[in-house]
Subunit: 451 residues, 3 copies
């Protein structure tokens, strides 16, 4: 089985359901950029894919950054005078600001307010707030909850630990046919390099689905599917805490980055919006062209945006010292859907069919990376007579017959040794898959030879 | 007289009328890719232009193709039990499928139906069908004719001959001023090459006007007009059966193809739609830029489309082994008008005024090819004082005075040795003809010298 | 104080009022391309800026041109039989055609009509007419005035002098920090060259405001402001009669033109229309990109048009022998507002707020020219941690905090040594000023070094 064989609507639909179920399993876990929740998440993923888990201690330097302390939390609440929990971490892990320092204090509501975060414009939603780099504590709650709190004395407890520890990330390598002893450390046993596709997702948010569990489960199921195929390229999946851990990863794999021929950061890939691709800093890398070609021929609305140095971990992969060919695939991008970073980014927002659609698109992109090649027409003077070779007949039973015939003519016409199949796709506007099928048929007939 | 002198609306209108009359004369002839009808057509054309007729025997190889058998037909009909011809080749040569094999048989309507072709969605029109490469026979008729046929026994006769023979094509060379002994065989007596413009039309359809008699008569009248002028370039007109004969022609003229500096395939040039140009495979060849510039400044709607490897004989001229700078000029392209390949593509669809418009546009394009040159401003520092040379006055009486003055300023400004007149036309948006006139006036005044 | 410090809305508003007042003072003067009116205008400007006035005698050759005779006028009128002035130069200097030769004659209205110019479609406006290069005389008047003239004998007087003299222009150099002994003659005392910005305006029209007093007062106040700052570049302001005097200036400064790194022709900069920039002939010179970037980020409608060899003195600066990077800034371009070259182009059409807006835009453009530089990110692998350096905090109090943070990320990301700040502005779509501020903050923090 090859990557092209993975492209199947029914299989994608099934994967969509399974991804949603995995997301539902991961949803209650209280994740942050460090700590037990993140490790628990990796444990669940390891049941699906062959996952290497790495840890580096707090204080480790990586370029301009330092690995922070590890944060763990057991409980957090605000109790009223009657001893009732009016804000309770056990009901939603969004109620406590991530990286809140320990606190056990009594204070009037007037004092407590400075530590309470709400969204007045969405009075039923709990916001998501963090304070990774400044010692602070806080609670997040809905505006309605806050409005219902009477004045008076409250008991505030954050039962957290913020101290030396380590940070973890998960990495899964699906080795390609050309792999020669590559390890997940980014080194190969014999120094040989192999072309790799990097797929990265941040897995550091608590109970939030579109940002970021959707990316986590999509990456997991892509890895699972590829492991069952025999890809030509290697695929390296990173399940990492955002920002700093891509920096740590880059600092530890600097020597072997040149093997990355393409990459995708996955986030917000389960909402009802259409697919949106943000180009790599290079703008015209093969991954940029591959995604644009796939999106343009899937028959659904889509957007392709230029690179900007704001967003997810592509900020680091595309920093000028690396300039890796890594783009970012979303449905609705961060900050552009109202549920973003609120309790409404939940299991209702992300649906199996949208996960399935993102999954199918990614596999189509991977097929381009796998199969893009440059062919040479062996009969370059005038068209060959396709009819006498049965090439028209061979495809006559298909509903897209005309498109297949056009595809053969396009591949023959542009296969002068200077155009790859992706070039042909861009110029013809035809789907890469149809062109790749046509090229295979023509090569089988001896009319085309790979350069 | 030069090509620019041929550009005249009144002369074009007259040519339009004459082209339509020639088309009416050619309309009844039953043409196919081989046979007597094709030769009869060439005989008519030879009364208008200096035509070389070539023949190659069936079985001749040309690249991947083989010249097929020759097809001739005397009569064809379907007779009912009463001996009445219910389908009759003598009424329309579209009634018989082209290349039908001989048949003389009696069969019930139920059996005959498999050989009958109609257009249910256009119940009054007879479709045009061929079967060049598979032994078969058939009749084409209107849906209403078919609906009127009662069940019963029919007598089917196709009195055709399909056998060894030869194929013919016509070629007309209008030699240019720079021609040095060129022959229509594509060889020159002394080995010198000369710049040529190739104009090709397919002449292999029976009673169909827009596709393809309009192209045939337009090519004929362009050749006739050019022969009366003194063009700088040579113009080679091909009247050929589609696809295979461009392949044969290319195979026999391979050694001298480098003399083709521009080319146009003409088809569907007489309908009421606006002009449409399909670029050559190169996309930015001089012919592509010349046609685009002419169409953009004629004051009428138009389309310019990118090359695609589907259409007319540009498919062969633009195959990767040749990649000739040959585009295709249509009004409404093939398949995009409902009358295409039906009996409704007749003398009513094609009108003299549309033929005249296509004719005028072609001559404007040829003027660009003739006169495009690069000049050098002899007074490049600041503008020259045009007034003291009477250059404003010289053109003061014209209604397009302002445009002429602008044209002089544009030509002077861009004539730094790096811009051709076509470059100036593209950047200024002014008509090439106005710029060429301005350049001539400036050169006469000594302000411009051809590089 | 540097150029960036000049950018201040309140200061621009004040300058707008002051420019309008200066324009009102200059409005009544009867200017032409030579003569006392032009010199009187320079005298007024010399009260505001350090102006060098140059004169060259009639008959001087400059490339293809010759300096014409000097024209001066004392009075002009048409008197009716009753001795009443029915057309009177003293009421509007537009009433006499510029460069009218002396005349003192009596003639019937029928004969006089050949010398009378009106605008029938704007019956209350007086047109502006000239006859620099053909001996002629004429009067301009409103259509209503003409309609009211009874038949009969009229006394026509033009009390003008057209003879040998000289032509004048004014030039103001604001020396830049890199200037090394430059003089306004375009020579430097020691042969060193320095980068210069050329700002040119024509000052040769009589009582017309938008074309051209608006350009004159804008150039004057830009020069005044820059003289009070300490610009890095030198700024050379030309107050010249149109066309011929730019030719004379170019002929006298040919040896030092390579010091001109950017230039702007200013005209029609006071009307209510939005800003319009016409690119230099090069099309992608720094000035072209700087103006486009500034206009695109000012939050107001604008147009950017390609170069054409018609318009103001950019025609000469951009002639192919020089091809200087000089564009043209207007609000509504010449000929595109109905008041153009009529008595309605007056003090009501040009308003202080529009002059102020043009002034502000020019200073923003000059800031780009001053500060555009290429930086090198000293921490190119992943983002630096801006938070720990207080760089976010440093700008936290500003209302455009998010834009400033984005600006820092863009500057860091593209500062690989191959992108200037203007490149960053174009790619990010952010205002140059915000990026330059960000670059300065990053450089101060040691994260960026100028290449």
């Amino acid at each position: 089985m090859t990557v092209r064989d993975l492209i199947d609507p029914a299989a994608a639909a099934t994967a969509g359901e399974d991804m949603w179920k995995l997301m539902a399993e991961l949803y209650p876990v209280c994740r942050s950029i460090t700590g037990a929740g993140f490790r628990a998440t990796l444990d669940v993923l390891a049941r699906h894919v062959d996952l290497d888990v790495h840890e580096v201690p707090s204080g480790t330097r990586a370029f301009d950054w330092t690995v922070p302390r590890e944060w763990n939390i057991a409980d957090a609440y605000v109790e009223n005078a009657a001893g009732e929990r009016v804000i309770d971490f056990r009901r939603s892990n969004l109620h406590v600001m991530s990286y809140s320092v320990p606190v056990d204090a009594r204070m009037p509501l007037s004092e407590l307010r400075a530590h309470l975060h709400t969204l007045p414009e969405q009075p039923d939603w709990i916001p998501y707030r963090t304070s990774y780099y400044a010692d602070n504590w806080g609670f997040c709650l809905s505006q309605r909850q806050l409005d219902a709190l009477p004045d008076g004395e409250y008991h505030v407890v954050v039962d957290s630990v913020l101290g030396e520890g380590s940070l973890a990330w998960g990495e899964c390598l699906v080795p390609g046919a050309t792999t020669d002893g590559a390890t997940t450390d980014g080194a190969t046993t014999d120094g040989a390099t192999t072309d790799e596709v990097l797929v990265s997702c941040h897995a550091c948010h608590p109970s939030l689905c579109n940002d970021n569990l959707s990316g986590v489960v999509l990456a997991t199921f892509l890895a699972k599917a590829l492991a069952a195929a025999s890809p030509r390229l290697s695929y390296r999946f990173l399940f990492i805490p955002g920002t700093i851990w891509s920096i740590v990863w880059l600092s530890r794999n600097e020597a072997t980055l040149d093997r990355i021929k393409a990459g995708l950061v996955l986030a917000c890939v389960g909402d009802p919006g259409h697919l949106t691709y943000k180009r790599s800093r290079r703008g015209d890398a093969e991954i940029d062209r591959a995604v644009a070609s796939v999106l343009a021929t899937r028959g659904a609305p889509y957007d392709v945006a230029d690179f900007s140095p704001y967003g997810y971990d592509e900020r680091q992969f595309c920093s000028p010292g690396f300039d890796l060919p890594v783009g970012c695939l979303n449905r609705t991008p961060h900050g552009q859907f109202p549920e973003y970073h609120t309790s409404a980014d939940d299991l209702d927002l992300v649906r199996p069919e949208h996960l399935a659609d993102s999954y199918g698109a990614c596999l189509e992109v991977m097929r381009v990376l796998e199969e893009n090649a440059t062919f040479v027409n062996q009969n370059p003077k005038c068209e060959p007579q396709l009819g006498k070779r049965g090439l028209y007949g061979a495809v006559g039973g298909r509903s897209d017959t005309v498109q297949v015939q056009l595809a053969m003519l396009w591949v023959l016409n542009l296969s002068d040794g200077g155009h790859s199949l992706l070039d042909v796709a861009e110029r013809s506007g035809l789907p890469f898959g149809v062109l790749a099928d046509a090229a295979q048929a023509l090569a089988t007939a001896g009319l085309l030879v790979e350069r």
